[in-house]
């Protein structure tokens, strides 16, 4: 059972979870694991047909207001879908899209926001947030390349999905942090890519004197900063949910393997050491569920930004940490086969590594949590 089902809107969320489960398991030749392997081999993580199906099911509009053509639901529903996709290691940029949408939802250029969210919810326009500076820091005050005279010369790292049609780019100007719309084909924009452990391309967005007009400004000053910070929280919680889905399946794969495999004339699951290690993985998974549940509740209950930031940092640190532990042990408990592509463990492990690091890993999130806690005290 999903961690977030038992709280707000339990029935709706359960239906959604069932729908995701049904979707991701369709057909062995194109299920999530299959598509993830294809991405590792060079395919785009964006299988257009699959993406369109997800749009048609409404998932790309979950957190988009109804007025903009979305479902107007919350982080809980995003988490349900992300967990389901994680369960099948599906490579689609669902959480990255949720990140961009959440940032947009906090912006105050209503017309532009509406247009972008609408196009994103239908699957027509792929969005990505470009916010980390060249040395991929998490601290917004290290974003020191400024927008001057309406032109931006700056580098933004680790942008996902790399094939976005429109970037939501974070810049500094005289009022503080601002967010701008930046179509990928704007003159002066170069998109370089690097390959990530799971085969996904991540972009380095290089802006060389790119013109950013007032019409492209999504939000500025305090509004812009809050939009980015809140968007980061949504993304971290959605990533935590995907990590839970991945870890949960790794746990199941591993206990099934222990229960089915024999060695020295006995089932692996009869060896006490392996039984206890399986229990320790189970505990890690339970911790993930609990950390995720409180984070979703923070959003459901309309907590303020700092409370949401703390809840998101807590969820992401736990989920990143526990998922890596579970994935690593899954390899070990599978033995040699776990280290090969014969098993699915590697597909899940690579995605866990990628998501655990995305937007700040467990160590970084714990520091963020400590910082916020001390600031609040």
């Amino acid at each position: 059972m999903s961690a977030v089902l038992s709280e707000a809107n339990p029935d709706e969320r359960r239906m959604l979870a069932d729908s995701v489960a049904g979707f991701v398991r369709q057909g062995k030749d194109n299920n999530g694991v299959h598509r993830a392997r294809a991405v590792k081999a060079g395919a785009s993580p964006l299988d257009r047909e699959t993406w369109q199906q997800m749009a048609d099911l409404g998932w790309l509009g979950i957190a988009v207001p109804e007025a903009s053509g979305g479902l107007g639901l919350g982080v809980g529903e995003l988490a349900v879908v992300a967990e389901g996709l994680g369960g099948e290691a599906a490579p689609e940029p669902f959480v990255a899209t949720a990140f961009a949408q959440a940032v947009l939802a906090g912006c105050d250029n209503a017309e532009l926001v509406d247009e972008l969210l609408g196009a994103s919810a239908t699957g027509d326009t792929l969005l990505a947030v470009a916010w980390q500076p060249a040395v991929a820091s998490l601290a917004l005050d290290e974003l020191d390349e400024r927008l001057e005279g309406g032109r931006l010369t700056a580098t933004r790292r680790l942008v996902q999905p790399s094939g976005a049609d429109v970037f939501v780019v974070a810049v500094r100007d005289e009022n503080g942090l601002a967010l701008y719309r930046l179509p990928c084909d704007t003159p002066g924009v170069t998109v370089e890519t690097q390959t990530q452990v799971d085969g996904h391309a991540v972009a380095t967005l290089v802006c060389d004197g790119v013109e950013l007009g007032a019409a492209d400004c999504l939000a500025a000053g305090a509004v812009g900063e809050a939009a980015l910070l809140r968007g980061l929280c949504v993304a971290r919680v959605a990533a935590s949910a995907e990590l839970l889905g991945l870890a949960d399946r790794l746990f199941t794969l591993t206990s099934d393997y222990l229960a089915s495999r024999k060695q020295f004339g006995a089932q692996l699951s009869s060896f006490q050491v392996l039984r206890h290690r399986a229990v320790d993985l189970y505990i890690q998974r339970e911790l993930m569920r609990n950390a995720l549940r409180q984070a979703v509740r923070a959003f459901d209950s309309g907590a303020d930004l700092v409370a949401v930031q703390r809840a998101a940092a807590r969820a992401k640190s736990r989920c990143a940490d526990a998922a890596l532990k579970i994935a690593r042990e899954a390899v070990q408990l599978h033995g040699a086969i776990g280290y090969t592509e014969e098993a699915d463990v590697g597909v899940y492990l690579r995605r866990v590594i990628a998501l655990a690091a995305w937007l700040g890993n467990a160590t970084a999130q714990r520091r963020e949590y400590a910082r916020l806690t001390r600031a609040a005290a």
Binding site: S269, S270, R275, V279, E286, R293, Q294, R367, T373
Partner: protein
Amino acid sequence: MTDWNELSDADFRAQIRAYLEAEYPQHLRHPSHRMRWHEVREWYLKRAADGWTAPGWPVEHGGVGLTPSKQLIFTEEQERLGVARAPDQGVIMVGPLLIRYGTPEQREKYLPRILSWENIWCQGYSEPNSGSDLASLRTQADDDGDHYIVNGQKTWTTLAQDATHMFVLARTDPNAARKQQGISFLLVDLDTPGITIRPIENIAGHEEFCEVFLDNVRVPKANLVGEPNDGWTMAKALLGFERLFLGSPKQSQNALSRLDVFATARGLHDDPAFSDAFTTLALDVADLSEAFESFAAQVRAGEPLGADISWLKIWGTETFGRIAELALQAADSEAVLVDGQDAGDESVDVLTLYFNCLPTTIYGGSNEIQRNILAKQVLRLPG
């Protein structure tokens, strides 16, 4: 008399909190080790006079008759204030047992004396060679007409030195097919000839447990609870929502808060190495608390607890251990002082934290046993 169950949870909590704040002595709050009866007697007699000895017992037997949800609030409020535990086996175990399985005579004789603390009970389960394998117990109760003659030895009997009575699991049929069979449940007056109680000193220097030797102790058959040879079933049936409290976050929360006091006084939070370690543990406690609340919600909803509750005990006790270890490291060369470490206006006692964490992974079913249970009953791994 107030029907407490009629109150809203919030009102009930407020009233209980007010009562405890007003009545529970300041100097007994958050004790660092298990209190002896003479230390808490006055408070518990006052509570008995106010009718609060047995919040969970039915009203007709002298209890308050609280719903599980209200009982939980009562317990939470006690924990919040750090109310010392009584030698409460009579309230927790014997009362519910007699209400369910006892004869009218047994109820009439014992229940009022439990409520008034005239009788104080201890638990005669563990034996020197049974360890975690309780069903292998060897204390023997031989049929001698209208008495049993009991011979054997019990151990880890919490506060037997303060008790007047002990309930005992003893083997009445040594030839039973399974070791869980042939065990009976007996009520024993500790004044009976043949009983010797010897306190066991623990490594922190306290005497929380005892050995109890039974040498040809004559126990009237009237003191048999339930059917002969059916003691194991009854003992198991009594494991109720108290299991939840083996996974309570209170010890960890308290330990973390003591460490926080020390760290704040010594400026340790400015050291990123300490801060990272502390935050990791703070999040471990936070997730423990969240999980505890989730299990507590089950209890509140009247749902039975499953075997999965075992993970809470593992995580809670091991988190407590990690906090105690960090505290020991944080205090560095001062950690050795038995009277604690200065922390601004307060004193923090890292040694006591450390010694207190040690038995938690052993008692209440060792963490190894809990992992066995989870592997079998929750993960259902073929063995």
